[in-house]
């Protein structure tokens, strides 16, 4: 369970402080939660709070009752996070080595680690690419590998920040289907409204605050109906 308890984020800017997320209270218990809204609305900020990549300047965020600010280490073992651009996330030369990196904490011996990494790759249909240089993989393969690297440690929650934005249609569909079918609780930031509508709940974020929240299909329909009328991103006066 993910709880936002009046969690707000302010960042220092030249002209003082900028509130990029108004104090927000949410309790996310659904299996699949979509975060939608225009660019610059604060979706990533909200998502990053869940595993301590961003810290609230007021209020609290808790995962399974653990305060993210003070129990970050334990929280990060429960919460996996993937980024829009997998290239920034893949840090080792080959696919197998990158997955093995995630497993360093749980598998002390290199041979065991390699075997476990190959198992994980096989789960994602990537076994053929185990020893390929990460730089030679396609965008879809890279995103799949990034997911494999994060899910290798079996987190109970996955936060995915626009995982399909850089992908072509076929790969976006493949990654989207995979995410929605995961056993983990999923917090999915996305501009793919069809994908969002397939979640159990959607939270619409605009201008740094929650504008709508409820069953995914309804919130997505509301967003579709009003999207063209919102102020553009960054125009906060």
């Amino acid at each position: 369970m993910i709880e936002f308890d009046r969690a707000g984020v302010r960042v220092p800017v030249a002209s003082g402080d900028l509130q990029i997320l108004a104090p927000t209270s949410l309790s996310l218990t659904e299996q699949r939660v979509a975060l939608i809204g225009p660019n610059g609305a604060g979706k990533s900020t909200l998502a990053r709070l869940v595993n301590g990549l961003a810290t609230p300047s007021s209020g609290q965020v808790r995962v399974d009752g653990l305060d993210v600010a003070t129990r970050g280490r334990e929280v990060r073992r429960r919460v996996g996070f993937t980024f829009t651009d997998p290239a920034a996330q893949l840090v080792m030369p080959t696919a197998a080595e990158d997955v093995a990196l995630s497993l360093r904490r749980t598998h002390r011996h290199r041979a065991e680690r390699r075997a476990a990494a190959l198992d994980v790759l096989a789960d994602f249909g990537l076994e053929e690419l185990a020893d390929r240089s990460v730089q030679t993989l396609s965008g879809g393969q890279r995103q799949l590998l990034a997911l494999a690297g994060v899910l290798a440690t079996a987190p109970s929650v996955l936060v995915a920040d626009e995982p399909t934005t850089l992908l072509d249609l076929a790969n976006a569909r493949m990654i989207g289907d995979l995410l929605l079918g995961l056993p983990q609780q999923l917090v999915l930031v996305t501009h793919d409204l069809d994908l969002a509508a397939r979640c159990d709940r959607a939270v619409l974020v605009t201008d740094g605050r929650v504008a709508a929240d409820g069953p995914a299909a309804e919130v997505v329909a509301h967003y579709r109906a009003t999207a063209g009328t919102a102020r553009p991103a960054g125009d906060r006066g």
Partner: protein, 199 residues
């Protein structure tokens, strides 16, 4: 740029334990820096080249390994020749090339995972001082990775500048590169943090 890449193989060098290679690399590096004079520098370069060929790099890859640092080496050489004469220039450039070649041999023949294990194991003794061996190993691994990644970004930036007809403008190539390298480093830091690897 070859430094930071691993090419699986079965040569004698591939089969040596990572610890031995790491130790040898540090020793060779020390000797190269300590022993003065152009002759020893040339000997070191020849040795580095021989090792690289022995590692199964072949002539083309070996040339690629040098090409990556050639610009830096030539600038350094030109400056040294002007400031201190030819002997210093040969020594400076030779030392640099030798170090790059030896480091390339290490990464070429050793999987990063094995290097990380070895380093983490070797710096264990620092643990009482509050040093986390895993973090040291990870930092080292990232350093090695950062070199080819930066070269890749430089190539992309170069292409982007060319697409706008700006390939002759140094700022048009340099400024975006610096920004992208910093941004990439930040993203990578975030990603490692998110994977719980910095904890």
């Amino acid at each position: 740029m070859l430094l930071g890449h691993h090419i699986p193989g079965t040569t004698r060098l591939h089969r040596l334990p990572a610890g031995t290679k790491l130790g040898a690399m540090l020793l060779i590096g020390l000797i190269v820096v300590v022993v003065r004079g152009p002759v020893s520098a040339l000997v070191a370069v020849a040795m580095g080249l021989a090792l690289l060929l022995w590692a199964g790099a072949g002539l083309r890859l070996t040339l690629r390994a040098i090409r990556g640092v050639l610009v830096v080496a030539l600038c350094l050489g030109g400056w040294l020749a002007w400031q201190q004469g030819w002997a210093s220039a040969v020594e400076g450039v030779g030392d640099l090339l030798a170090l790059v070649l030896v480091a390339t041999v290490l990464t070429l023949t050793t999987p990063v995972d094995e290097l990380l294990d070895t380093i983490a194991h070797r710096v264990r003794f620092l643990r009482p001082l509050g040093v986390d061996p895993e973090r040291v190993a990870l930092a080292f691994g990232l350093m090695i990775r950062a070199i080819p990644a930066t070269v890749e970004l430089a190539e992309e930036t170069q292409r982007a500048a060319r697409a706008r007809g700006l390939e002759r403008s140094l700022p048009a190539r340099l400024v975006p590169l610096v920004i992208r390298v910093v941004a990439r480093a930040q993203h990578t830091g975030d990603a490692l943090h998110a994977r719980g690897l910095g904890d």
